[in-house]
């Protein structure tokens, strides 16, 4: 979903750049609280994994492909603030070293693929976690649900930006239908990759998974209660 230069006009790109800068500033503050001895080692891994996996476009039919965005994956593994920082580093490297995503569109790409997927992915993860049984085995499915919906929501956010500052006058309804349609399919791939990545780390070291902490804390309390 990397937006190139030229799809959105200059004022819109300046505005998304400002929103991205504010988002990163908030994330820098929040990440200082998240980055403890368990989160810090995983941050590098999450960023490299997202970067590497984004190179692998998977087919979704009709001559179209998609790749992981990674918001839910990063937020659940290292926390939403650190997760956004990891993704932002990925988008900057992609833009400057690999010409993937426009330079004036860097703020747009950080907003759509970073901020939107992290916020939506993390919020849906927390809601799903509250509904599902409080077990470590439920962390990966909850992350997958956040991942599944974060992609079509990000595509809808692009349509919103296009409505404000799109370069070519086209039917917004048709654009929204097409974007949400194809990105719902890409969301299934996003959910699958997120499930596997979060599930494998949660299986061996649940204590390293940021999103598993409430479940682990509760389990410890139950065990302490039973011991009395």
């Amino acid at each position: 979903m990397h937006v190139p230069d030229g799809f959105l006009d200059a004022p819109t790109s300046v505005a998304t750049g400002a929103v991205a800068a504010v988002g990163i500033a908030i994330a820098l503050r929040g990440a200082r609280r998240e980055l403890d001895d368990r989160t810090a080692p995983l941050a590098g891994l999450v960023a490299t994994f997202v970067f590497a996996t984004q190179m692998i476009n998977f087919p979704v039919g009709a001559g179209t492909s998609g790749h992981l965005l990674g918001g839910a994956l990063a937020a659940v593994l290292v926390g939403p603030y650190t997760g956004l920082l990891c993704l932002s580093v990925v988008f900057v490297v992609q833009c400057l070293l690999f010409a993937d995503g426009g330079i004036t569109a860097l703020g747009t790409n950080i907003l759509l693929m970073g901020i939107v997927t992290v916020v939506v992915g993390w919020a849906l993860f927390k809601i799903t976690q509250a509904v599902l049984p409080k077990r470590v085995s439920m962390v990966a499915p909850a992350a997958a649900i956040g991942a599944l919906l974060s992609v079509p929501v990000a595509s809808l956010a692009f349509v919103g930006l296009y409505a404000v500052g799109g370069s070519v006058d086209i039917s917004l309804g048709a654009l929204a239908t097409a974007m949400v349609g194809v990105h719902t399919l890409i969301g299934i791939g996003e959910a699958l990759i997120t499930f596997l990545a979060v599930g494998s780390i949660a299986a061996v070291r649940p204590d390293l998974v940021y999103g598993a902490r409430p479940v682990l804390a509760q389990r410890t309390l139950v065990l302490k209660g039973a011991a009395r």
Binding site: M1, H2, V3, P4, D5, G6, F7, A31, R32, R33, L35, R38, A40, L42, A43, G44, L45, A47, T48, F49, F51, A52, T53, M55, I56, N57, F58, P59, A62, G63, T64, S65, G66, H67, L85, V89, V92, V93, L96, L97, F98, A99, D100, G102, S155, G166, S167, V168, I170, S171, A174, L175, A178, M179, V182, H183, I186, I201, R205, L208
Partner: protein, 89 residues
């Protein structure tokens, strides 16, 4: 149950990322991605312009990208943790 060490897990994970970047990327779909395809179908693809980057995805370039991302994040984490500990002191 023997606990997998954090170091082992991170090293194994980064090895997977390097394999994906160096080898897996050869098998990536060459079809346009969702946004590119929609922009072609809906007549705004031509509005997009591209710039040149020093690297292309796949093979050793992909590995260079992985190393660059890892290095930047490690420096960032180190910096933020130093700020955190000086705040608490």
């Amino acid at each position: 149950m023997t606990k997998v060490s954090t170091r082992w897990l991170v090293v194994a994970g980064i090895a997977v990322a390097l394999l994906v970047a160096g080898i897996g990327s050869r098998y990536a779909s060459g079809d346009p991605d969702g946004l590119t395809k929609v922009s072609q179908d809906h007549g705004f693809a031509s509005a997009g312009t591209s710039h040149d980057g020093p690297f292309a995805y796949g093979g050793w370039s992909g590995v260079v990208g992985v190393v660059a991302v890892l290095a930047i994040v490690l420096v960032l984490v180190l910096f933020l943790r130093r700020r955190r500990s000086s705040d608490e002191a």
